[in-house]
């Protein structure tokens, strides 16, 4: 072991998780997508070996490099054993070719640029349209993100068994369909890229939508979505405006991570956030990406959502926000993505810029607004607006409905406070300033 004190090396946070995704991707290129599970096993074994040896030998100077070497050695063992070779081949005619090509390929695994390419190939495989959308998200998190089924279940607020089943079926599908391990090109690239962006967008939203205090893993999911999107922007296949726009959107939202929770771990509304805690560097980065997304003639909903987020991020305060600009962006968004929820968000912005009466009128004109009946923000917004205008009875009615629909104790608490204000005013009691 060691006689004198060796250099003590440290290891970066989440290194195992990050590197496992890269390694599985690279190994899949050699073994083929039909051997995805084998690639995962090899990587898992490499991590276990690190776990067994590093306490005695110390953390190596280059932990990732060590893992790569061990994974390579295991992969070489596998292809050298004739029995495994015939099992590995997609069909018998592949065996001879595989035995010739596999070893040299393995020796060159994990080289810098190639890893990025392999990671991208894996992204397109995980986000393949042949797989159900929920499976695409779970698969991306598992294989590229290195999250376990339990961690994914916690992040997506579902059961571990459900995730395991989804992953199992997805891998089976990949095997059966003999999905190619390639970055698509030509005409196919654009639509396949949209699929990847949808997955990343959904992944980010999942991570973003809940309190991190309860589920810190969800912030990790956001960061993973950003990491993968960034990889896309650095590759020729990903230099499309919509990729930059998504990156911008995620930067703007992520910039507010630290300001989103109050001391008790509850979500704070935009109105109440301490903007000095917003990450200015991330906001700047967001604007850089937003600029790059402004090429080509097309604007899609991601561009507009990024634009709206941008307007919020440069505002000194909630009150000083360019609400007219935001309403205008919502107008554009509605032409592309006419949805009651978007119309609702537009009305909220309208209330801030033009007052509650204008907003209430706008809400009356939302087509298909019955869809919103079970969406808690709808009665909550109506209640808030009526309260501002002074229609206390209407306000109370809507707030009560909102409380019934609210999905978290924090939301209920927030709405109850508003309802109390309402009742106090009706009773002519002096009102306490609502805290949020």
């Amino acid at each position: 072991m060691r006689d004198e004190r060796p250099d003590v090396h440290s290891i970066a946070d989440h290194l195992f998780r990050r590197e496992s995704g890269k390694m599985v991707s690279a190994l899949t290129r050699v073994f083929g997508t039909h051997n995805l599970v084998l690639a995962e096993d090899v990587v898992q074994e490499a991590l276990v070996q690190a776990l067994r040896q590093w306490p005695f030998a110390g953390i190596p100077r280059n932990p990732a490099g060590w893992l790569y070497q061990v994974a390579k050695n295991k992969a070489i063992d596998i292809v050298r054993r004739e029995q495994t070779l015939s099992r590995l081949a997609a069909d018998p005619s592949d065996v001879a070719a595989l035995s010739r090509t596999a070893e040299p390929l393995i020796h060159e695994l994990f080289l810098g640029e190639e890893i990025k390419d392999d990671t991208l190939r894996m992204m397109f495989t995980c986000c393949h349209p042949a797989l159900p959308l929920e499976s695409q998200i779970a698969l991306t998190l598992k294989i590229l993100g290195g999250f376990s089924s339990a961690e994914i279940a916690r992040a997506l607020l579902t059961q571990e068994a459900a995730i395991q089943k989804r992953l199992y079926r997805a891998k089976q599908r990949i095997r059966e369909e003999r999905l190619e391990f390639e970055v698509p090109s030509g005409a196919e690239l654009s639509s396949r890229l949209q699929a990847v962006l949808s997955v990343l967008y959904l992944m980010f939203n999942e991570g973003y939508s809940a309190s991190f205090a309860e589920h810190p893993i969800r912030r990790d999911v956001c960061l993973e979505a950003m990491r993968l999107c960034k990889l896309l922007t650095e590759h020729p296949a990903g230099s499309y405006p919509s990729v930059y726009a998504l990156m911008a959107l995620m930067c703007f939202h992520a910039a507010r991570f630290d300001a989103r929770l109050d001391d008790s771990g509850h979500l704070l509304m935009l109105k109440s956030q301490d903007r000095s805690r917003w990450d200015r560097n991330l906001i700047s980065e967001g604007f850089r990406y937003l600029e790059r997304s402004a090429s080509g003639g097309e604007i899609d909903e991601i561009h507009l959502e990024a634009g709206i987020a941008a307007v919020h991020c440069i505002a000194e305060s909630y009150e000083k926000t360019d609400w007219t600009g935001i309403v205008h962006l919502y107008d554009l968004l509605l032409t592309i993505k006419p949805s009651p929820v978007v119309a609702l968000n537009r009305a909220i912005a309208l209330a801030e810029g033009q007052g509650p009466t204008a907003a209430l009128a706008a809400l009356q004109h939302i087509p298909d607004r019955d869809v919103l009946e079970t969406y808690p923000f709808y009665p909550a917004t109506l209640g808030e607006l009526h309260l501002r205008v002074g229609n206390l009875d209407d306000a109370a009615r809507h707030l009560e409905r909102a409380i019934a629909l609210a999905s978290s104790p924090a939301e209920k608490h927030f709405l109850q406070q508003k309802l109390n204000v309402c009742r106090d005013r009706r009773a002519g009691r002096p009102l306490e300033h609502p805290t949020a």
Binding site: R5, E19, L47, P55, F56, G58, S148, E151
Partner: protein
């Protein structure tokens, strides 16, 4: 100062741990060993492969080892220095193996006189 061997029994990490969990697990171990090194207590230590051979009896029968009936296997050892066995035992309590259901056997190394 005397020397003691820590025999590490069982406590295998769950192979289905997520990469993140494995890293944390690994860091607990490396942190403990670094502590032993820094305090000057660590003399040596090595991990052992799980499987091996057992050679026994006057006929030197060779079987696959360790004992098939044994649930636990020694996964590695450390040799540390301490003033007495009580101190050695206290030092062993810092080992992360216990959280995984493992045990540390603490044995004084015989002091050999000339």
């Amino acid at each position: 100062m005397k020397e003691f061997m820590f025999l590490l029994w069982g406590g295998y990490p769950d192979p289905s741990l997520s990469p993140e969990q494995m890293q944390r697990h690994m860091q607990k171990w490396t942190a403990w060993v670094e502590q032993l090194t820094e305090s000057g207590r660590l003399r040596s230590g090595l991990p052992l492969e799980r499987a091996g051979k057992l050679v026994s009896g006057p006929n030197k029968l060779v079987t696959d080892g360790p004992f098939p009936e044994a649930k636990e296997v020694v996964g590695g050892y450390f040799i540390i220095s301490a003033h007495d066995i009580n101190e050695a035992v206290e030092i062993s309590k810092g080992c992360p193996i216990f959280a995984d259901g493992g045990a540390v056997e603490v044995r004084p190394v015989m002091e050999m006189s000339m």
